[in-house]
């Protein structure tokens, strides 16, 4: 059982401060959807509105098509996993997991049986009678998931559940979460400020900034076709160059920057202050100048990172550019101090407005 969620022009004010600003998005049943954004951008507030702890100031939230206005958290088909998990430390693990069933009047034997099934689902056998304090961070994580799954929610809401874990465990739990979502088919709404996490796990990602939804797309499009500078810079690295845009045609344009004029993609609708964004991995170094989008540079720093080589270079007027070269043996690793040309493909670079906030 899973349900879709519609946020229809949802706003949330705290006093005169607008924490969530006209958010519109339709999340499909069974989808793994992530809200991605920096700290304080309103992610938790969105989740609290969906679960019913905070009422939207404006707009409507629908779960499975049903308007949720006036529904208490305990009446909604959602289960929230808190940023700090909020397990009950005075109950053994199995009672934690079965708490939702206890509330629903399920008898003890059934509760116990169900708790053990769920523990098996999250790969935590033999922990039913332990106390919360006896578990590791990753195990607590799984208990929180099992506790939420026990009430068979149509929607699971997860608030940065992996942020407290170390890197290795985090990567492991990513795969685990994704697998649990696939197995149960429940709609997952996942919140994170870690772009890698959002891109790796989600069907679609909504990138937020200052209470506004900047872009909703699948992870590939978020990374390859960001709609504005905020999304481009929040998700991955960029070389950013300001300048005047000329010759707009067929989704392409020229931009005259202080280090030269380049051609790049430009959405027809794009307006406002525009800048050129090129990702370091799309920069190439070559001995001779290219036909277009090429600039002479002096390499200042060549850092060998293992699977790639990070190259910092300065142009003749002192602008720093960064390139990342794959360490696949196709080209020799250049030396620091070398004079070369840095070039990029027009199809892999974009001219973007700053962010949706600037336009509105």
């Amino acid at each position: 059982m899973s349900a879709g969620i519609d946020l229809d022009n949802v706003c949330c004010d705290f006093g005169s401060f607008r924490a969530v600003d006209h958010v519109n998005v339709s999340i499909q049943p069974g989808e793994f959807f992530s809200f991605l954004g920096p700290s304080g951008c309103g992610k938790t507030t969105i989740l609290r509105m969906i679960s019913g702890f905070t009422e939207p100031t404006e707009g409507v939230i629908r779960i499975g098509g049903k308007d949720q206005r006036g529904q208490r958290p305990n009446q909604r088909p959602t289960a929230l996993i808190f940023q700090n998990l909020a397990l009950f430390p005075l109950m053994p693990i199995w009672e934690n997991i079965a708490f939702g069933l206890e509330v629903r009047g399920v008898d003890k034997a059934t509760r116990r049986k169900r708790a053990e099934e769920l523990l098996a689902l999250v790969d935590l056998h033999d922990s039913a009678d332990k106390m919360v304090s006896q578990l590791s961070g990753g195990q607590k994580q799984r208990v929180a998931i099992a506790r939420a799954l026990a009430v068979e929610p149509a929607v699971m809401l997860l608030d940065e559940p992996l942020s407290a874990l170390d890197l290795k465990l985090r990567q492991h739990m990513r795969a685990e979460l994704r697998a649990i979502q696939k197995r149960t088919g429940v709609t997952f709404i996942y919140i994170t400020h870690d772009q890698g996490e959002a891109l790796a796990m989600s069907d679609r990602v909504g990138v937020m900034s200052q209470g506004r939804l900047q872009q909703v797309a699948n992870p590939r499009d978020i990374y390859n076709n960001p709609v504005n500078g905020f999304v481009a810079s929040f998700v991955g690295e960029n070389n950013i160059l300001g300048g005047d845009v000329q010759n707009r045609a067929e989704g392409m344009a020229s931009i005259a920057t202080p280090i030269g004029t380049f051609r790049a993609r430009l959405a027809d609708a794009a307006e406002g202050k525009l800048k050129l964004y090129v990702r370091p991995e799309h920069m190439v170094l070559q001995a001779a100048p290219g036909a277009e989008n090429s600039v002479p540079v002096t390499l200042t720093e060549v850092a060998f990172e293992g699977n790639f080589v990070s190259v910092h270079a300065v142009t003749t007027n002192g602008t720093t550019l960064v390139a990342e070269l794959r360490n696949d043996g196709s080209t020799p690793i250049p030396a620091s101090g070398a004079q070369m040309h840095m070039a990029f493909d027009a199809r892999h670079s974009s001219i973007l407005p700053d962010s949706a906030n600037a336009g509105a």
Binding site: N74, A79, V103
Partner: protein, 307 residues
Amino acid sequence: MDDLLRRYGRGLTWGFVGLTFFWLVILVILPDFKLLESSFRPYLPVVDVGGPKDTYSINNYLRIFGGEVPMSIFGFEVLISPRVKVLLYTLWYSGVVTLVTFLLAYPLAYYLAKIVSPKSLPTLFLLLFVPLWVSEVLRSFAWWIILALKGPLNAVLIALGIIDTEIRWISGYSPVIIGLVYTYVLFMVFPLYNAMQSLDSNQIEAADDLGAPWWRIHWRVILPHSKPGIASGAVMVFMLSAGSLLVPAIMGSTTSGWFTQTIQGIMLEEQDWNTGAAFAFMLLTICTLVVTLAMWVFKVKLSDIAK
């Protein structure tokens, strides 16, 4: 200790320690030992003190048995000594006081810890403390006036049409209970507030989110978390109530003897400090036993209370 030395220097630190030591040993521990010692010696005219009749015995303690009066305990009629009867009533009604303070303090502490906005908290605390600025004697007399047969409480209740004829509030143990509850309720509120305040509000929300109604959230999450606070509050209220002299003396009626009044009578009227001391230590010991028993029944550890 090192920390204190560093912060306050040698002179001040040893000054503090010395004064604390003086207070604890000279003013508290030694007099208590003296009383404990004399509780095992008979009450004698001055000339006989230290003489052949001045020997250790538990006779003073046995004086609690003597005489027989009827008493009904859970419906059973028994004959027991009047002093034991007063002691049992003291323990029983101290327990009642503890229960009533808990029932009053729990919602108040919850309100203060989890509902009130932190901004108005100082004002509310101030309001709670204001009554403490008035002396206990005056507060007890005030209650005595409020509860009087022709007093304001009955007048208000009659004016509101809640009752037709005056209720005799001051009879039996009820005024003592009211007075003790009023005097000691804050000793329950603050430990409870402390305990509840340390509860992560997300746990309450998590229970809510999992579908729990409010009463189950209290029963399964908030109450268990508050147990150490309840325990320390209950111990304080119980001990203070059982040991209170002023409230039973002012608010009591002829039928509401409190064991502290018995002790006072022996010490002041009979001038028999030896027996008075014996009874006082008996009260202390029995209260401690009751508390220990209650802690065992409710599975509270001493270390929980110390928190």
